[in-house]
Structures are given as C-alpha cells and as structure tokens.
C-alpha cells in the first residue's frame, strides 16, 4: 500500500509522457514551430520521464497503484519499470536517430510526435497492467496510434495499403483478446491476474477448460502482434509501407512492450496451463523460425529482409518462452536480454537505412549497397557490426542474446528447438552476410556523395559501440555495466514479479 503522495510520484513518468503528448498536439497548431522544435520538446519530456523511472527502478517496493480505489489493476514492480525504461529509451532513440529523415520528408509534422508519445503511453500502461481489460486498453492505445503512424505518408499508396492491412487485421485480432477476456471472466468472475492465477491453481484442467480457450485466444492476439507464423501475413507489407521511423519503432520498441504483457501473463496467470500449451507453442516456434527465414531469404529490399528477419528473432524469443513452460529458470532473463540485444541491433540497422534514405534514395535494395564500403567506409563498418549482431556473430551483443536463449533451451531439454534455432541462425548468415558481401565485394556503381556529420550519425556510432560492449564488455572497467550486469538486472526484475 503506497501513501497518496508516493502514488503520484510513481505515476509521474506516465503523466509526463501523456502531458508531453498533449503539449505536442496543442503546439502543432502553432505554425511558427518547426519540426526540430517538436522533436526537441518530445525528447525533453521523454528524458525527464526516463530520468524519473531510472531513479524509481530498484527503489520502489512492489505494490498496486490506487489499490483502495480501483483494486489490483495497476501494478508497480521492477519488471514493469524495466520495461518502461526500455520503451522510453526506445522512443527517444527512434526520435533522435531519425532526425535527418524527418527533415527530408515533407509529411512529418507536430501530430506525428504526439502520436508517438500516445503510443508510448499505451505501452507503459501495458507494462503495468495487472488486469486483462487494462491490458487491452493499453494495447489498443498503443496500436491505434501505430495504425495512424503507419499510414502517415498519406499520398503514398503503399503506406495507405499497409495501414489498411494492419488496421483491419489488428482490430480483428484485438477482438480475440476481448473474447478471451470475456470467457475467462465468465469462469473466474474477475479479470485480475491474481484471481485468475488463484482459480487455475485451485482447479484441475477439466474445470478450467474455458480458461484454456480464453487464454489461447489472448495468445493469438499476442502472437499476431509479435508477428509469429501463421499470424505473420501483415509483417512484411506493413514494415515496408511504413516510414522508416515507424518501422524501427514497431520492430524494436513495440515488440518489447508486447513481450512485457506476454511474459507477465505467462509467468503469473497461466502457469498451470504450460503443459497444455507447450505443444502449440513448439509448433508455432518451429513455423516462425522456418517461415521467417524463408521470408527473409527471398527479399531483395533490405527493409523487407529486416522485416522477415524480425519474425525470426520473434521465433528465438518464442524458444525461450517455450523453455519457460518446460521449466527453465534462466529463460525469462534470456528473453529480456535478447529484447535489448535485438533492439540495439535493429535500431542501428534501421537507423543507417533511414540516414541513407534521408539523402534521397527511396528503394534500398541489396543492389543499392554495392560498393558502399568505398563510398562510406565508416558507415559500412557500422552496418556490418549491426548485421553481425543480428546474425549472432560472437563479440556482439546479438551472440550473447542467442547464447542465453539457446542455453535456456538446452536447460529445459528442448533439443529440437535449439537445433532448429541454431540452424536458422545459420540460415540467417546468408541474408545478413549478403549485405556485407554487397558492401565490400563489389566496386562502387555511383559517385561519392559528400558526407554529412549529423546527430544521427553520432547515434549510429553509439549504437555500434553499445553492441560491441554488450558482447565483450567485462567488469574490468569500473562504473560501466558489463554484459554480466545486464543479465543481473533482468534477473532482479523477474524476481520482483512474484
């Protein structure tokens, strides 16, 4: 039970994000404001929010916000706070790394930043949700903003098509969530996670058959949002059609938020259903790994390849989720580590793409990268680092992420899945190294363009350094967290979930 003043302190970051969103919305009517001002205001609000969450992390006991008024709906624990930190950092990085891109396209304006912050608000709500309807509201707030953002380039029919596709499919799967919630409510008489967990633990599977059905329906929504096969039909087209910042945002930040609720549900709520689900999850994992790899191999545009590969990365995390069900102790920290690893690599890769396309090239295919190492030697090195990290090459954070996940799989004796995971990692060498080969093995086919040193390029360098440090970082250097510390933080957060 928190004191009233404490509760306001806890809710402060969320409130700041929301106020930031409204401020941007109001400011966007002021014609004298330029794009960079909006960007600045958004980043400013988010930085303050981030700072407060950082202070809160580890210093707040587990509890429920406004428990005497709304019950156990809004949970505060290190797990949720860690996801807050990740999402807010994600949005800040998305905003900063795309600075150049925003200026190069005329269709961005103030509302764009407001929508991004609204979406972030939904994600934070999602991370803190301890009740199914709240979770649904958080999910829809986040999703609705993203629907609008996907179609933000109004005059581009690809963008509009992507939005329609995502909107229709996304809303439909959203309905699954509601139906599942209704079924569960029908049995338990409550939608709070604690109550559901108590019920399922106290009853055998015969009596809680409706809960299984309901939970499976909820799972459908979650699997749809992370793009698992066979719910992956939208991924490639939507990623392709969206503006770069949004693709980056969906591939990294939004995925993190979805995993927040997925993990919470899977770890507290549906523990007793693990046995029922494991076969389904295994099948879906296998399909996701293979289907994603197939999609990624066959693409010629880098953006689409990254979209396909994001499905595969979802598959790796599903391996870990399956391992949780099979009794692995280390799987959950592994997922959180992997989320961070994938987040850094994807933001870096998309960041470079957006940085390049800010100077005018619309389609970024493998062919466009021919001779890139001669035109932009440094960017080529960083792009290679991101590709290596995505491929899970050792000495990058991506390798450690895969290492943790596969170790978790081996621990729970999921040899088939781990074998398949390693196989798809091997396949992924093909499509990631294809880009490296294009950059380094071919002579340049177009003249040198002058190099601009901007804020975006500085951030790309930062991403690359973080990736390398995350892969080899030792505790030798004081005050800088090593790769080890990261997993410790994740473990601490998991323990708080209880």
């Amino acid at each position: 039970m928190f004191a009233l003043i404490e509760q306001f302190y806890i809710i402060l970051p969320m409130t700041i994000v929301l106020i930031g969103a409204f401020t941007l919305m109001i400011l966007s009517h002021n014609k004298s404001f330029e794009l960079k001002h909006f960007n600045l205001v958004a980043v400013l609000f988010l930085t303050i929010a981030l700072a407060i969450v950082m202070i809160q992390f580890g210093n707040i006991p587990k509890g429920y916000l406004f428990e005497d008024i709304i019950g156990k709906v809004f949970i505060v624990d290190d797990f949720a706070l860690l996801f807050d930190i990740m999402s807010i950092t994600g949005v800040i990085l998305t905003l900063l790394i795309n600075t150049d891109y925003f200026h190069s396209r005329s269709y961005f304006n103030g509302e764009y930043f407001a929508l991004l912050l609204f979406s972030l608000f939904g994600m934070i709500l999602l991370a803190h949700a301890h009740e199914l309807v709240t979770a649904f509201i958080g999910l829809e707030i986040a999703s609705l903003s993203i629907y609008a953002l996907v179609g933000y380039h109004k005059n581009n029919h690809v963008s509009s098509e992507a939005m329609m596709k995502y909107l229709v499919l996304g809303s439909m799967t959203g309905a699954f969530f509601i139906l599942g919630t209704a079924l569960i409510y029908g049995v338990v008489g409550s939608t709070t996670l604690n109550d559901i967990a108590t019920y399922t633990n106290g009853h055998n599977n015969e009596e809680s058959i409706l809960i299984i059905v309901g939970a499976t329906l909820i799972m459908v929504t979650i699997l749809f949002k992370i793009g698992a096969v066979p719910f992956h039909g939208w991924v490639i087209d939507v990623y392709e059609g969206s503006p770069f910042p949004i693709t980056m945002f969906m591939a990294s930040t939004f995925k993190i938020a979805i995993f927040a609720i997925a993990l919470r549900l899977y770890l507290i709520d549906f523990v007793s259903l693990h046995g029922q689900w494991n076969f389904i999850l295994q099948t879906i994992t296998i399909l996701t790994l293979l289907g994603g790899s197939w999609l990624a191999i066959t693409q010629s545009s880098i953006k689409r390849m990254l979209a396909g590969s994001s499905i595969v990365h979802g598959g790796y995390m599903l391996i870990a989720i399956t391992s949780v069900g099979a009794g692995s102790q280390i799987a959950v920290p592994a997922i959180m580590f992997y989320l961070i690893a994938y987040f850094l690599s994807a933001v870096g890769a998309f960041g470079i793409l957006s940085y390049i396309s800010a100077s005018g090239i619309k389609q970024l295919t493998y062919e466009d990268f021919k001779g890139f190492s001669e035109r932009r030697p440094y960017l080529a090195i960083f792009m290679s680092i991101f590709m290596l990290s995505l491929a899970g090459f050792p000495s990058t954070i991506g390798f450690l992420g895969k290492f943790y996940i596969f170790t978790a799989g081996v621990e729970s004796e999921q040899f088939l899945l781990v074998g398949l995971g390693i196989t798809t990692a091997f396949i992924s060498i093909y499509y990631y190294f294809k880009l490296i080969a294009m950059m380094y093995f071919y002579p340049k086919n177009e003249p040198q363009t002058p190099i601009r040193y901007t804020f975006s390029s500085a951030l790309i360098v930062l991403m690359a350094i973080l990736i390398i440090w995350g892969g080899i970082g030792s505790s030798l250097i004081p005050f800088i967290p090593s790769a080890d510390a990261l997993i410790d933080i994740a473990k601490g957060a998991i323990n708080s979930i209880g």
């Binding site: 090459f393 596969f406 170790t407 781990v418 074998g419 390693i422 380094y440 790769a483 997993i487």
Partner: protein
C-alpha cells in the same frame, strides 16, 4: 607484467588496426604501423618461448571473470602445441607484410591485422566460448579478403567458404552449449573452461553427438575428405597473403582443435572411432594427391597438395602413438613453413606473369635461376625430400602408421610417392622446357623478396638436417599428453 603477455600478443595487432583506422593513416604509415606491430608481437612471442618450460604443462595461465552468470571467463594459457602455432603465425606475419609492401589498398592491411588477432586468440584461449569467439572472428577478415581482393569467382567462393565454415561453427556451438549445461547439471555450477569440462563423462550414444558437433567444425576447417568442397575454390580465389594464412595456419587450427579439445573432452570416442576417421583421412590423402596431379592451375594444385598433407597430419593424430604424434606436430611446423614459402612464390610468379596456369609457364630456370632454386626447394620440402623438415615429419608419421597397422602403414607411405609425382611433374613443366609465352623476360628475385623467403628456407633446412634441436622441445608435451589420455581411458 607476465600475466599480460598473452593478452598483449593477441591484442596488439587489433589495437594497431583500431588506432590506425581512427587516425585515418595513409597506406605507407599504415604499413609501418603493421610491420612494427608484427615485429613487436614476434619479439614478445620469442620472449615467451624463451621463458617457456617444455615440461611445465599449461603456462602463463590467466583467468579473468567475464560473464559470471554462466561461468565464462577470459581464460588464456600456452603449452607446446599452442606455442608452436603461435611462433609460426608471428613469424609469418612480418614476412607477409614484406610481400604486401606495395599494397596501397588499406583494407588489406586492416584485415591482416585483425586476422592475426583472431588467430592468436583462437590458439591461446582455453575457455570454450572465448575459443568460439576467436574462431569466428578469424573467419571474417579471410572472408572479406577473398571476396574483395581475390580473383576469379571471388564473391561466390568467399560465400561458400563462409557458409561451410559457419555450418561447422554452429554445430560446434551446439555441442559447447550442451557441455556447459551438462556440467551445470552434474556439478552445480556453470563453466566453459575446457579443463573443467574435460572431467565430464557421457554415455557413448550422447558422447558421439557431442563429439560430432566439434569434429564437423574441425573437419571442415582441415578439410577432411567429404568436407573439402570449399577448399580448392577458396584457395584458387584468395589473394596470396590470405592463401598463405589459410594453408599454413588456419587449416592447422582444425588439427589444433581436435588435439586440444577432442583429446581432452571426448578422448574415449576419438580412440574408439579412430579407425573410421583414419579411413576418411586415408581416402583424402590419396584422393587429394591424385586430384593435385590433374590440376592445371598452380594454386589449386598446391591447395590439393596441402589438403593431402593435412590429411596426413590428421592420420598421425589418430594413430595416437608417440611417433605419429611427434611426426604430426613436427609436420605442422614444417608444412606451415613450406606451404607459406610455396604460396608466396606462386604469388611472386603471378605478379610477374599474371597467370598461374601451368600450361602457360615453362623455362623459368633458364631466365631466373635464383627463383627456380627457391621454388624447387619449397616444392621439394612440400613433397618431403630428405634434407628438408617434411621428410623427418613424414617418416615419423609413417613409422607411427606401421605401428598402428601394417596395411594402413603401407597406404600412408604411398603419400611420399604421390607427392613426388605431382611435384616433379609440376617442376618439370614450369621451370624447365621451352620458355612459355608468359614467362618471357621473367625477372629474378629481388633483394626484398630474398629477405622474405630466406627465414623460411633456413628454418626448413634446420628442421630437416638437425631435428634433434627441436624434438626435445616437443617431446615432453607429447609424452605427458599421451600418458594422460591412456590413464583416462585405461590404455590406448
């Protein structure tokens, strides 16, 4: 200070590359930097060799926690096996830089620097994850060098090399993970140090899977027969420095892997199934030699010759007696020197004639006698003519083979004959006969080139004439290792 010695040897080239890339040096400065770094490393390695005690087992061990949650540590150490390879790498690097003297493509130099770090790291790491890290790290520069600076179907061949090697690495990773987890389950704590993992015992049905994971990686690297399809194309497309490293060092790392990890982690399986691998290596030995005879390009010919000799080293390894092991380790040294020499000379030849097709060459001896002398010398060392180090090594392995089994001994001895066949026929067609179109006005060796080749020549002569200088250095380690293995599995 001594505790940092190994780390310094590994990372000096890496940091040279890093600093040079940040300073954006011109290629002449980069060259000076690279040569300086390689000489410093060579000096350090010599210092290390001087301090090293052949009877002392693993020395200069350094362990620093890296990822404590999973017991992964930065764990380095050196013993005779790794010291031999370390000496070879650090000796070859300055010579290769000498070869690359006029190379103005900076990426070339960076890749060589990174390559050296990767290879020395692989040789010195005793933690399996660290080993895996360096094992993959050394692949990348080779990949870029073949694909960017190679010739022929370089992109395709580079990708082929990458994918096949990665396939092996991935299977090795799976085995490493399984070992680590089993150790956790049995002993209750995570570790990836190979000394800790070597105490694990498995039922044969599981052990064979774990062992195959490792063996696949090493078999592709060597390459054993059946895993060799990348070899000739990659050797054929590589630029000279890369092909020297591939043949002289990287192929040996497959052997090194079996020796270091195979014979400690799952020695029982290796001894039990040694017969199968011996047959595979024998097929390779004969097959590669016959294919070498039929090749029309010099580089591909010596690629197959190299494959044949690496199969011989593998054979020596799996006969597992003191002669054959001594022979194998000795052959690692002499073959590295000889193949480095021959591939460097092929590079020089290519610089002069722009072709390495045997058909286009001929009559070099009459125009460039010095070149012909060196070329013949290296070719004969590859074939193992008495007086060169190769002879001593092959003899030891063949003695070991006869000790193992009479018929296998006879089959192994055939390598001498076949090697003579392809070497002499090649020499006849390239050095003698009528002067070919490409070899007209063939320039003899310059002073710089002689300086580059001389160390290799002298070492090969010494190893050939006075093996007694080296045998006492490698023998204690072999005796101790063989004894340990036979204790562990109750008699070989």
């Amino acid at each position: 200070m001594e505790s940092l010695l190994l780390s310094a040897i590994i990372f000096i080239p890496f940091f040279t590359a890093l600093i040079a890339s940040i300073l954006r040096l011109s290629y002449t400065k980069l060259r000076s930097f690279s040569i300086a770094s390689s000489l410093i490393v060579f000096g350090l390695v010599l210092f290390l060799a001087m301090q090293y005690d052949p009877h002392g087992g693993m020395q200069f061990v350094r362990t620093v926690d890296w990822i404590k949650n999973y017991g992964i540590s930065y764990h380095l150490g050196v013993d005779t096996l790794s010291l031999v390879l370390l000496l070879l790498v650090s000796l070859l690097m300055p010579l290769l830089y000498l070869y690359m003297w006029h190379e103005n493509r900076k990426g070339y130099w960076y890749n060589m620097l990174l390559l050296q770090s990767g290879i020395t790291g692989t040789i010195l790491s005793l933690d399996l994850i660290l080993f895996y890290l360096f094992w993959e790290m050394m692949l990348l520069p080779i990949y870029i060098m073949i694909g960017r600076y190679g010739n022929g179907k370089r992109q395709y061949n580079a990708n082929k090399l990458l994918l096949m090697t990665m396939l092996g690495s991935m299977s090795m990773l799976f085995s490493i993970l399984y070992l680590g987890y089993t150790h956790f389950e049995v002993n209750g704590f995570w570790t990836y140090s190979f000394e800790d993992l070597s105490v694990l015992t498995f039922t044969p049905s599981i052990a064979i899977w774990v062992a195959s994971g490792f063996l696949l990686a090493f078999a592709i690297k060597i390459p054993l027969f059946g895993f060799h399809t990348w070899m000739a194309p990659a050797y054929g497309s590589s630029p000279t420095p890369a092909v020297v490293i591939l043949s002289a060092i990287m192929a040996k790392l497959g052997i090194y892997g079996i020796w270091r990890f195979g014979y400690t982690l799952f020695e029982e399986i290796l001894v039990r199934y040694s017969y199968h691998i011996i047959i595979l290596a024998l097929i390779g030995l004969v097959y590669y030699a016959i294919v070498a005879i039929t090749q029309s390009s010099l580089r591909r010919m010596f690629a197959y010759a190299s494959g044949s000799h690496l199969s011989l080293i593998t054979l020596g390894l799996f006969f597992a007696n003191i002669y054959s092991w001594g022979g194998s380790l000795y052959f690692i040294i002499t073959h590295a020197l000889a193949s480095a020499g021959i591939f460097l000379m092929i590079g020089l030849l290519y610089k002069r004639t722009n072709t390495i097709r045997i058909k286009d060459l001929g009559g070099i001896a009459s125009q460039a006698p010095l070149f012909a002398v060196f070329f013949t010398f290296f070719a004969l060392s590859i074939a193992g003519v008495p007086g060169t180090g190769g002879f001593v090594a092959e003899l030891l392995i063949i003695i070991g083979a006869f000790k193992y089994d009479l018929w296998i001994g006879i089959a192994t001895a055939s390598t001498m004959l076949l090697a003579m066949l392809y070497t002499f026929w090649m020499l006849q067609r390239t050095l003698f006969g009528a002067v070919g179109l490409a070899t007209q006005g063939f320039k003899d060796l310059s002073k710089k080139e002689i300086v580059m080749l001389l160390p290799l020549t002298i070492l090969l002569l010494i190893t050939g004439i006075a093996p007694s200088l080296f045998i006492p250095f490698i023998e204690p380690w072999i005796t101790i290792t063989l004894e340990t293995i036979s204790q562990n599995i109750g008699g070989l």
